[in-house]
Symmetry: C2
Subunit: 432 residues, 2 copies
């Protein structure tokens, strides 16, 4: 190992000791008698100070010849220096160039010059060096970790289900077709059917965090063709039970990011407001009323448009659930109320800006499920592998799917979903 310390692990108290740091030549300032090299590593910045009078000439020549963003290893002595980042500077014994950077750079990484998102995504490896981009993906790691912590403690078992499938999950959504050896197959749009199979299998509570694929043509700031879905399914719970799990998860994630991600939030210039529990619940009917009150047209049974979502979001102003949806606009597996089958035990979790999650208590009767599939114009025999699991002891169960990217972008107040994905895939972008 070349490095002995990250820049932020060195303290003024280490004055006199010898260390090696590794990182990028962030800035080089040559003032004649004194030359400063600012080295940037993952955790922060370190100032390397070369005094012309005392420095080894070879070392000075290396630093003077350094191009910005080259990778270096610096071995030097720690010197307490109140004016430098972290309160110390390094007086180098040696500077080694490990990876030379060509000039000009394909993108400015100091934040002084604004680049548009497309340019940034084209050279994402440069964009990642910007503090803001780095902060987003440090937070993304924290979010993933917090979600797993929470679900593990709640007794959920992590599962991984296939992404190559023979059957479309829900109909409706466009799928990416592919050839699986000599057969037709698809990229899975949701682990829905598989996580329900786990309920028949007695796994009781499961979750999956994995890619979903949707071949939808729309090109908006909140859709991706490859996204990450956080999916759960739980037996012997109804939709209200899993809504409580979901709202608690959201608050747990926000709290964790606020607590463990302080530094990254600061980089992004934001303070995180942790949502209050419980989230407000409104019915679909109440949602329709709010939309109509605002003067927009909506028929009972219509899905909410983006515009309607914004209207309701502005009225409520915080996270909320919409419950009791019309059965006909929800997937076949949402359970209709027995006494009022035109509405169902489905819910959407909404952020004022957009939908984050959809869930429901599921149909667990084989007969009802089969007829619901047919009512939605799908071919029931194509779901044989799934329907079978409902004939030999299927418990009542409920679950939801939560979009990871939307969770992060709404949490951080980010406008474009592509900002929170390392290498996004959309209608036009397939590279890098």
């Amino acid at each position: 190992m070349i490095r002995t310390h990250y820049s932020t692990q060195i303290t003024p108290e280490m004055d006199g000791s010898s260390v090696t740091i590794c990182g990028w030549a962030h800035e080089i300032r040559d003032l004649g008698g004194i030359t400063f090299l600012i080295v940037r590593d993952r955790e922060g910045l370190a100032q390397v100070t070369l005094f012309k009078k005392t420095i080894d000439k070879n070392v000075l020549d290396i630093v003077r010849g350094l191009s910005r963003e080259s990778v270096v290893a610096v071995t030097g002595q720690v010197k307490k220096e109140a004016k430098a980042p972290n309160g110390y500077e390094l007086v180098p014994m040696s500077v080694t160039v490990l990876g030379k950077a060509e000039s000009p750079l394909p993108m400015d990484t100091t934040g002084k010059v604004d680049a548009d998102l497309d340019t940034r995504l084209d050279v994402r490896f440069m964009d990642m060096r910007r503090p803001g981009t780095k902060a987003i993906f440090r937070i993304r790691h924290l979010v993933l970790k917090s979600v797993r912590e929470f679900l593990d403690r709640e007794g959920f078992i992590e599962i991984i289900t296939p992404k190559i499938v023979a059957t479309a999950t829900e109909g409706g959504t466009a799928l990416f077709p592919m050839t699986y050896f000599e057969r037709e197959a698809f990229l899975n749009q949701s682990p829905q059917l598989f996580k329900q199979l786990m309920m028949s299998g007695g796994f009781d509570r499961v979750f999956e965090i994995g890619p979903i694929f949707r071949a939808e043509e729309h090109d908006t700031r909140k859709h991706l063709n490859e996204a990450i879905s956080i999916d759960t399914e739980a037996s012997f719970l109804d939709h209200e039970d899993v809504m409580v799990i979901l709202e608690n998860l959201i608050v747990y994630v926000y709290s964790n990011v606020a607590e463990r991600g302080t530094e990254y939030l600061k980089t992004l210039g934001m303070e995180l407001k942790i949502p209050d529990l419980p989230f407000k619940r409104i019915t679909y009917d109440e949602a329709v009323d709010i939309v109509r009150d605002s003067g927009e047209q909506i028929e009972w049974g219509d899905d909410l448009t983006t515009e309607s979502e914004h209207t309701i979001g502005k009225t409520i102003g915080e996270h909320y659930f919409i419950v009791d949806w019309p059965t006909k606009i929800k997937p076949f597996y949402a359970l209709p109320y027995e006494n009022k089958p035109e509405i169902c035990r489905a819910f959407d979790l909404m952020h004022p800006r957009m939908e984050l999650s959809s869930g429901a208590q599921r149909v667990h009767s084989y007969e009802l499920l089969r007829s619901r599939i047919e009512e939605q114009g799908l071919y029931a025999d194509g779901f044989d592998f799934y329907l079978k699991a409902f004939r030999y002891g299927m418990p009542p169960h409920s679950g939801w799917g939560l979009g990871l990217e939307r969770l992060i972008m709404t949490m951080l107040g980010i406008e474009n979903i592509r900002e929170v994905v390392l290498f996004p895939r959309d209608r036009r972008r397939l590279s890098p």
Copy 2:
């Protein structure tokens, strides 16, 4: 929530209290004056005892009419009973059928009748109810959790990279082609190129746990067409540094499974031997010698056959690394030794039964990388998005990919890789 307790959360000390359990009718024994219903939930078994003299006739009728593997909720009083599982029985006030099972069942779940793997995989939702299958996937959860714990503590950041890509990663391996809107694309066979981009981006240490797709035709007990790869990449470390991380990870996972998975290991009838650190290292040349000593033919520069791997595995008898591989049989990104470029800084981590992981220090010089790509007969311009990242400050870096399924099957002494995947995908199987 219907359930108040899992079967194993009820103790004899709760004698007299009222509880509700939910699960599957595992067994029904009617002895005339007394009827036993054994209810199975995720955590274990509970005995429900119906005394004919005192029981509500409706409750008795429900239990007598129950088909095996139907789902029930039982509310009853806890009664201390040394002879019952967990030292208690339930005297039911009510039994509700939540999901009726048809007869005959598509598969025996008691373990009394052996079913072949294909049948089990066809009705995986039934197979999951068997204690052995359930134990494997409980352990799989523990493995995933332990891997993330270990890597997080070692400073690795979790990343997720795209599964739909425009370029083949390594050449050689067969890819699944697909159509991405109007363009040709592939399912990614490895996150290799992306995790290297993260090194240029300054993320220093990253990991990904996700699906990889290989359209290989072979149909063996250790290959899948969709598998899960645990991938890491780290800057300023050489291959020997990341071998140490890898062997420590393996031992951490084994230790955790031994400690937290005792019950599941017991179900599988096994004791877990934790490998000793450090793992043995042999060079490729030494591996060739062992193979030749056993009388097998091998030319220097040949890859090891399965037979050769077994020969070496038997000789060494525990986990081991093979280092210093011929450059020509490793991918273009493996770094050749400067003073002996015919061998490279690549390693394989082997279990005596099979290869678990491959890794290397990577080429980080743009010029060398470009010529290595061309030497391997690949079209360098197709790698432009990747090569670019080496021109603007790429640190030296190393990493490895570890097969999750192989880790689990070798740990648990399981013969067929399909046993450790919920819904495997192979040459013939695309469903469920």
